[in-house]
Subunit: 783 residues, 2 copies
Amino acid sequence: MITEQQLQDMHRYWQAANYLSAGQIYLQDNPLLREPLKPDHIKPRLLGHWGTSPGLSFIYVHLNRLIKETGSDVLYICGPGHGAPAIVANAYLEGSYSEIYPHVPMDEKGIKQLFRQFSTPGGIPSHVSAHTPGSIHEGGELGYSLVHAFGAAFDNPDLIVACVVGDGEAETAPLEGSWKSLSFLNPVRDGAVLPILHLNGYKIAGPTVLARKTNAELTALFSGYGYEVFFVEGSNPMVMHRNMIEILDNVYARIRSLQQRSRTGNEPVVNGWPMIIMRTPKGWTGPKEWEHQPIENSFRSHQVPLTAVKTNPEQLRLVEDWMRSYAPEKLFDKNGRLMPELQSLAPSGNKRMGMLAVANGGTVLKELQLPDFKQYAVNVPHPGTREAESTRNFGNYLRDIFELNKDHHNFRLFCPDETASNRLQAVFEKTARCFLEARMTTDDHLSPEGRVMEVLSEHLCEGWLEGYLLTGRHGLFSCYEAFITIIDSMFSQYAKWIKTSRELPWRKPVASLNYLLTSHSWRQDHNGYSHQGPGFIDTVINKKSSVTRIYFPPDANTLLSVMHHCFSSKDYANLVVAGKQPELQWLTLEEAITHCARGASVWKWAGNDEGAQPDVVIACAGDVPTLEAVAAVAVLREQLPDLKVRLVNIVDLMALSPILYHPHGLGEDAFTELFTNEAPVIFAFHGYVRIIHDLVHGRPNPERFHVRGYMEEGTTTTPFDMTVLNNMSRYQLAMEAVKRVPRMVQMRDRLNTYCEEKLKEHRSYICTYFDDLPEIKNWKWTY
Amino acid sequence: MITEQQLQDMHRYWQAANYLSAGQIYLQDNPLLREPLKPDHIKPRLLGHWGTSPGLSFIYVHLNRLIKETGSDVLYICGPGHGAPAIVANAYLEGSYSEIYPHVPMDEKGIKQLFRQFSTPGGIPSHVSAHTPGSIHEGGELGYSLVHAFGAAFDNPDLIVACVVGDGEAETAPLEGSWKSLSFLNPVRDGAVLPILHLNGYKIAGPTVLARKTNAELTALFSGYGYEVFFVEGSNPMVMHRNMIEILDNVYARIRSLQQRSRTGNEPVVNGWPMIIMRTPKGWTGPKEWEHQPIENSFRSHQVPLTAVKTNPEQLRLVEDWMRSYAPEKLFDKNGRLMPELQSLAPSGNKRMGMLAVANGGTVLKELQLPDFKQYAVNVPHPGTREAESTRNFGNYLRDIFELNKDHHNFRLFCPDETASNRLQAVFEKTARCFLEARMTTDDHLSPEGRVMEVLSEHLCEGWLEGYLLTGRHGLFSCYEAFITIIDSMFSQYAKWIKTSRELPWRKPVASLNYLLTSHSWRQDHNGYSHQGPGFIDTVINKKSSVTRIYFPPDANTLLSVMHHCFSSKDYANLVVAGKQPELQWLTLEEAITHCARGASVWKWAGNDEGAQPDVVIACAGDVPTLEAVAAVAVLREQLPDLKVRLVNIVDLMALSPILYHPHGLGEDAFTELFTNEAPVIFAFHGYVRIIHDLVHGRPNPERFHVRGYMEEGTTTTPFDMTVLNNMSRYQLAMEAVKRVPRMVQMRDRLNTYCEEKLKEHRSYICTYFDDLPEIKNWKWTY
């Protein structure tokens, strides 16, 4: 039982947090209000969001009590945007902040520094970010708090993830899509997620949908997802403290009991997991009104409740009254340290939410055990003479990763219901699809113990994986290429997080975010135009070069080598694009390793320049472009044996970049060795052409690069026709090559006639047989 | 009351649809099975999705009955992916298909053509698409059926939008986020959306979450959103027909009664709108099993249920038995026409769902009435001497669009709760935020009649607007720039739709999709790194140039001119990026109009080259880059009066593109006139630099273009510091310019010293005052 004194202390702790939140927004000096507040003490630019802060701190204080009493590990995920004033205040009060940032000590000077740095140039952002101790979640772009929470809970059986969802964020589609994560959480092996839906009524200016729903409607809604809803509602702080204590105890007991039931019977409980809906006034305990308009409990407290404080003495007085209402002199001692009886309310050591080990995932990361990838090599006796399915072969390697790491419980595959479609089904020899809802005997490889997370939501796959990685585990996202752009913005935010955390020495490196896009645009001929879109490459390439890596392995052995490298890396986002269809194989494993290490190489066996200055270079990146490029060279060699043509394959796209802009960029000499300084280069590229135009900008004579790639031409057709529609077929490449070589001007017509004839034949054949010409389909390298 | 005969006929009509669905997947000949099925009759490549088709046709047939009986206009939105076999079959049976595509007549030859074209090169895709009569929705990328349905229903009071949601799609985040659209639908002025959640149990390979939920859970879930749930479940066709008739009658009566109640009392009903949950076997009525594995009612019927039909005689027999089970000889007469008694079951004329006018929105489009934009001009007596907020000024124009078109009920503004934040609040003088849930007296401009759709979900804003446009109305999406990338993939799919529909003469042009990104990356200095991201420009620019337009109006008058143009255009996606902050104004309205018509111009007053060959060109696109570029020229003119410098501003980004790649591209002469052929060009760009590198590829001496833009450097800081962090400040531009002019080599040090000093001053000032140097903040053009 909690005593009245304890309750009063908790309230004062909360007041301290509220005081520090307001101080961060307003003050640059006089941090403890030792003297009357003057305009000079007010920051010249007022930034930050007060509205959500008191509620966030209220939850923090109460979770502290729970942790102290139960010894549980609790990860706090703060969904509401710009909630940093509260979370930073609490990390400071518990001592985590000063431990990590000694320049913000626990004294009056430290409080002043805490205030000044907030939302300030050279300081910290106004939302929870990588800078914030105890956070794995950025409170900038809304929608991903709950999915991150579940990702963190997977394979962390003792962890409780308390996830505060703001009612603004609750309107986003990704958040609404996240509630059903419960159907994929196995309490036997996974921790618990405790969603706390914080309804304070308003977004920036308008009311929120959920805040205006009745409790009966909310209960119906969330019970449909499998939650048992507990309400904590009101504005009287002391009543609310008592309610919250009671509900939290109740909810905690329920979590542990459902877990125990699941773990002893080994039959996971799916339904009845608790969640809290907390209704409190927006800007709770803040200024009540201004010029007869309400501030507290209205949208006017969303950001800075009073904005003219520096110039308007009446507002200055209101802010002073408000801040003094927390009685800072009773919260902090004469040195500016939190009073000892309040300090003792916070957990200590790594139990503090700001110091939780999993929130700094790199500190608990176990290296992923990787099989020797050489064992999975495809035998390639001669380039271009046999076929293999790159991803099916890679699937064997992936299967064995599951096997090797099974005791560590730290690897999962995330995929929107496409594991088998992407030819990775070998993994089902060792694991299954994870599913907690009712199962039937006819289901295929489905089990609560499965480590393949298949849900028809790219948002969930991405968000779960992000949460899983940031808490120190490993994973892979396998996806159709066109549909990975669904999570463009999530990726952008994640890349920003990684860039920022790399700049913070206390954040330890986490496993890389690995994408394998295998049902890619060029081979979605059968599924049609909507399934064709390589735009994710553009999204990735725009992000910081310290974070991003982009690979186009052209065959099975290069894919093995690339993936092995990606799984071994840290703090990167690795984008790998490789087809799942049977395709010609080019390199032996040894050649593949060398090729990948170089990033780009001349394929000597394909060309006929024999190291001399070529008339033309045909370059390629991507498996389908590689096939067409090699075939184009073959056409040229056959039709115009005098032409000296060189083939360059690029497996590491950023090798093309000037080294100034990407660490993988080839030096000037290496670039010239591949592409010469003057020869025209016909470039067949997997993605949109503009990427190559950019990458070669700054290289010698960039105008000689003539790029063919996906130009938004597509429909339901054949694989080869996709290349024809986009001007990238072997014949079109060959014609382009000859067009660019002045000394071949005499020979152009002959080649053009040959190629045009082939293209005509192609067109009439597919219209009859719905398929590619046998000579295209069964094309093999014959030199 | 329905008679037994009518019921039998309906069943046969459904069988005809199922027959045609199976035929599209399998047959290239012998379309009516006049002779025994042979391998030659089977297509060489089997594509298409059978699993969802019978259910989709079942719903179509029953909606036909409802339309016939009630005379209602019903728009069918087909959510399930690859559902074309069913929808195309029904459009064909009702005669719409042959009317639109006379080469597919209503006879045996036509049926053969229908079969052959399906999922075939030169034919039609396997999912519902722009090709499909009666559709406004592509069934490729899943997630948007319901949000499109609501967009179509807005301001269409008599329309019923029947929206079939597959249980795979129901797992996506955008779909889950769409259920709450009910809270924004006003039955007094809007039509009804009837969601039909089709649970057939499986995605590609795994079960779906909702299919495994109990009816009680589903009822709870959807009643929480405000729906009254009706179940139609089973597999016995005749029982199911009876159930569906009863439920549909019930549901229809309920819709009309709720509408009447709303419209007579003028108090909109928010809760209790009906939805149907239909549970039927996947691949219903198809092959039962193969090699002792179930096909019907399992994931094995998801796509093509038997795939070796051409080579395996046993499979061939199974497919023949299956198709003959529908008794085609009793469905089609000797000419291959649907039997007359079945024909009469379909509605006629424009009541047929395939011929519904709103599904071809251009046919019902009313031109948007636009005010004379010249009335809203900002007075600019001299360039760069006074400030204005571009979007606040534009807001007045926008307000008057609402006023001018109020009787047409065909214009809405869509925005994630940021209308006021984006300074467009003038619109609230004429309309309000739309909200149907409980309202309070303290709410700000909130009303069920509001035409401003504010929901904290970019997915909903985009999807509603798409549905609204495709049914022949007008709108604007105003959004924070960083967060518009949340709908990257939706935009990509929409751009594909528009490209495709432009190739179909029967699809009439619709109003353009207009984006105004105003809280843009450069002025999100206060909100920090997560709010900074110009990646949407890359997404748009990659799409087909016939569809995309991108504008960077640098001030208020150019914004007016650009927006006026966008609102007048059709079938484009117009991306406009313009800041909301007080910014210096450059052009008079007349100058703005001329500038916008040209796309890019020399700003003579800024430079000092006076038409002669300049030493260096400073180019800019975007309002912040323009300010820095103009200031850089001023710095150069002041510090190095001998340097001849020219300023070029680009308002229409695609003017830079070679005309071959975009219709707005400047011809070679016009390009040279602006940029010369040789002068170095220092380019300050709003977005990522790679876009400009690409656009100038193919222009004379592209390597002379030195581009500065957003390079993923950001934090919470000041506006000017954002430009410094990204190397785009006036000082950095000036230093870069001089570096590129060989004849100024002597002067470099002096300028560099000056500029470095200024940058140092800047850094120390913001660290003290959290703000930009007064000379930066109050900078005015002084020449």
